[in-house]
Symmetry: C2
Subunit: 110 residues, 2 copies
DNA sequence: TGATTTTATCGTAATATTGCAATGTATTTA
DNA sequence: TAAATACATTGCAATATTACGATAAAATCA
């Protein structure tokens, strides 16, 4: 017990949940927002900007990389991270689709 | 250790993360999608539709209710749940704002 | 080459999440 | 009133997440 029963749900539902999970931490939101406005940045920059330990930032970057939201390029000693446009637009489309499905008022009770 | 350092982040970042966390489970995505198309439903209906135990569904409904995405109305023996339009639009606006911040190509590396 | 810089990974501790059986509570029905 | 129905809550077990110090790996600099 204690494990999500993924088999009960559709691929879309599981994917959407997986993307939401990656966004479900303020540090990862902050990293994404940083990348959205500054185009690229590296681990050290984020450590200074966010105030979390280097290992912690590295772990968050890894999770963002795992789902494909960001990608890193080795640039000398450091690694430059940036948003992956295709993946970002794919995720954006999925959330847009979810939010689109509501035409208020749709509830006769509330 | 092991606790999210909310104090390091902005209110918006923490709120966005909190909303994303509630969406970060396929069962809650499924419940929302069900409510979006059928307007209302109760616990028992969802138990039949999703295939999770009654206690589990109740717990997921509680989390959705806690952040205000849904609201329940006692209707005889059962409870009718529906989307909270204001909250839903608020969350929609926050995600839209996040996704809006990207104008590809913004990265000179990738 | 040796020291420095930057990042990733490992190990560990604290806490959170997921799922469900069992039980409690409230309303309706017979 | 007693049984039935629907839902919430509690308690527990399994697993996941968060954070960071310590350490490893790779590239650069003196």
């Amino acid at each position: 017990m204690g494990v999500t029963k993924s088999a009960l749900f559709s691929t879309t539902q599981n994917e959407l949940a997986a993307y939401a999970r990656v966004l479900a931490h303020p540090a990862r939101i902050a990293i994404i927002q940083f990348l959205l406005k500054s185009e690229t940045c590296c681990n050290t920059t984020l450590v200074g900007d966010l105030g979390l330990a280097q290992a912690t930032i590295s772990q968050h970057l890894k999770e963002l990389k795992n789902v494909g939201i960001i990608q890193g390029t080795v640039e000398g000693v450091s690694v430059n991270y940036c948003i992956n446009p295709e993946k970002w637009n794919e995720i954006k489309a999925m959330f847009t689709e979810l939010f689109k499905g509501f035409n208020p008022p749709n509830c006769s009770i509330c």
